[in-house]
């Protein structure tokens, strides 16, 4: 049993609330440092692309956002499944906290892709496989959010949305492949070439920094949002009133 105590301890809201509060600077500071370094490296230090000129530099936001939108869905579905199986409320709180972050990253990815596409392909939007599956991913997030908001009872919202997240994560690879095949059936020459020329290190290193920076940013945001979720869910709990009690009594 000893190996599992940390797990149960982590799953207790008061304990996690404290840990999350302590972890926020440990995630937020590296996030800021990495993103600033990555963006500086990408915009100032990296050479212009020989084909795309300076326009390629939006990749330093675009690609990490795409990565994070997928990571968030995986985290959300995993947390939801854990919550569903072991009935851990905190896992549901993490899933609920992650969904809007993931949706924002998906939207950011679509928006930057669109801005990038305008000079490169001469159009804001093209029915490319990757764009379309990213759009469907955004729809999945929106459906999840809509289902959550339809229930007043938070336990019910947790468990219903968890089922949807798990069903969705089974579907994500199917959607991805079907969209890829659909696209290859529709149009021959696609605008994005898979692979492409390998990036020189001066371009690649800032990108890697941005990837890690965005991931740390997600971790920091998730901690803040999980804290907020815990506050909302446990507002009547004694430990929370004790923690906030001194101030609350005076007001």
């Amino acid at each position: 049993m000893g190996t599992w105590t940390w797990f149960h301890k982590l799953a207790s809201p008061p304990h996690f609330y404290r840990i999350a509060g302590k972890m926020i600077p440990w995630y937020a500071i590296p996030a800021v440092v990495l993103i600033v370094c990555g963006v500086y490296g990408g915009i100032v230090l990296a050479p212009a692309d020989y084909q795309q000129g300076d326009a390629f530099r939006i990749v330093y936001v675009h690609a990490p956002a795409a990565w994070l939108s997928l990571l968030c869905y995986t985290v959300m579905a995993t947390a939801a499944a854990v919550g569903l199986v072991w009935r851990i409320k905190l896992a549901h709180a993490l899933a609920a906290a992650t969904a809007p972050i993931g949706a924002s990253f998906a939207l950011l990815c679509l928006a930057t892709g669109s801005i990038w596409g305008r000079p490169m392909w001469g159009t804001w939007w093209t029915w490319d496989a990757r764009l379309t599956s990213q759009l469907i991913l955004l729809f999945l997030y929106l459906g999840y959010q809509a289902l959550r908001s339809a229930y007043d009872d938070i336990t019910k919202a947790d468990r219903a949305s968890a089922v949807l997240a798990v069903v969705g994560v089974v579907n994500v690879p199917i959607i991805h492949f079907s969209v890829t095949w659909w696209n290859s059936l529709h149009q021959g020459a696609t605008v994005i070439r898979a692979g492409g020329p390998a990036m020189p290190p001066s371009m690649l290193i800032p990108l890697i920094l941005c990837f890690f920076g965005f991931t740390f940013l997600y971790a920091a945001l998730a901690c803040v949002r999980v804290q907020a979720e815990v506050l909302r869910r446990e507002r009547n709990a004694h430990w929370l009133q004790d923690a906030m009690g001194a101030r609350g009594a005076k007001e």
């Binding site: 469907i136 729809f139 929106l142 459906g143 289902l147 339809a150 019910k156 969705g168 199917i174």
Partner: protein, 230 residues
């Protein structure tokens, strides 16, 4: 102590017979989605143009989008009445595996909402200038596709039955999940309408999706119903 239990499959057969009997007494539940299907298909030539060359190009897509919307509309009624009058609670408490009972309900739902669309689809395809040779693939793809739609949709219907916001929410949940069905279904139909023998490929993919949905969704639907009924 107990009387011998009915076997799960016999219980499923009873649920299926009951749902069919109920539907035959309220016939409009079956006919309304078909009428809706025909109406949506009518909208496209009105909105675009009655040019035969254009209609032949978009025919497959129109049949599929109309079928998808019509089956979304029918999903709403899958569990609602049974939740309202307490039947579903009794099914949950019956001691039979809920997943199998739910599968029976979904099959009944497909027979009542999917099969009429299968029968109506050649009419629409003809109106869009399809040749008679393609009807086999068209009806086969619609049959497979609507079955997958019913199965995936049953999860959505089970999740939303406890909430007060009905069909819009249901569509928001289900539509992104069924886009692969639309892609392969419309592709198979399109290839068949243009006389391309490679239509079998997407049909096989639809079939494999049906098998996947058949094995997984009843459990998700049963879990979702238990949550909604809590």
């Amino acid at each position: 102590m107990n009387a011998p239990m009915t076997s799960p499959w016999a219980a499923a057969g009873l649920v299926l017979r009951r749902d069919l009997a109920l539907a035959f007494r309220r016939w409009e539940q079956v006919t309304h989605p078909v009428v809706f299907f025909l109406m949506v298909a009518t909208l496209f030539p009105l909105a675009l143009s009655p040019k035969p060359s254009l209609l032949a190009d978009i025919g497959a897509g129109v049949v599929w989008v109309s079928a998808l919307l019509s089956s979304m509309l029918a999903l709403e009624s899958l569990f609602r009445a049974d939740v309202e009058d307490g039947t579903l609670e009794q099914l949950t408490l019956s001691g039979q595996p809920l997943a199998i009972l739910v599968l029976a309900k979904t099959v009944a739902h497909w027979l009542l909402s999917g099969v009429p669309l299968v029968l109506a689809s050649p009419v629409v395809a003809t109106a869009f200038g399809a040749a008679g040779t393609a009807y086999g693939v068209l009806m086969g793809s619609i049959a497979l596709g609507t079955a997958v739609l019913s199965l995936i949709g049953s999860v959505g219907a089970a999740l939303t039955v406890g909430s007060r916001r009905g069909s819009v929410l249901l569509s928001l949940l289900v539509l992104p999940l069924v886009m692969p069905v639309l892609i392969f279904g419309a592709r198979a139909t399109d290839l068949a309408l243009h006389g391309d023998p490679s239509a079998a490929g997407p049909l096989w993919l639809l079939g494999s999706m049906l098998i996947l949905a058949l094995t997984l969704t009843p459990f998700a639907t049963a879990a979702a119903l238990r949550i909604s009924l809590e």
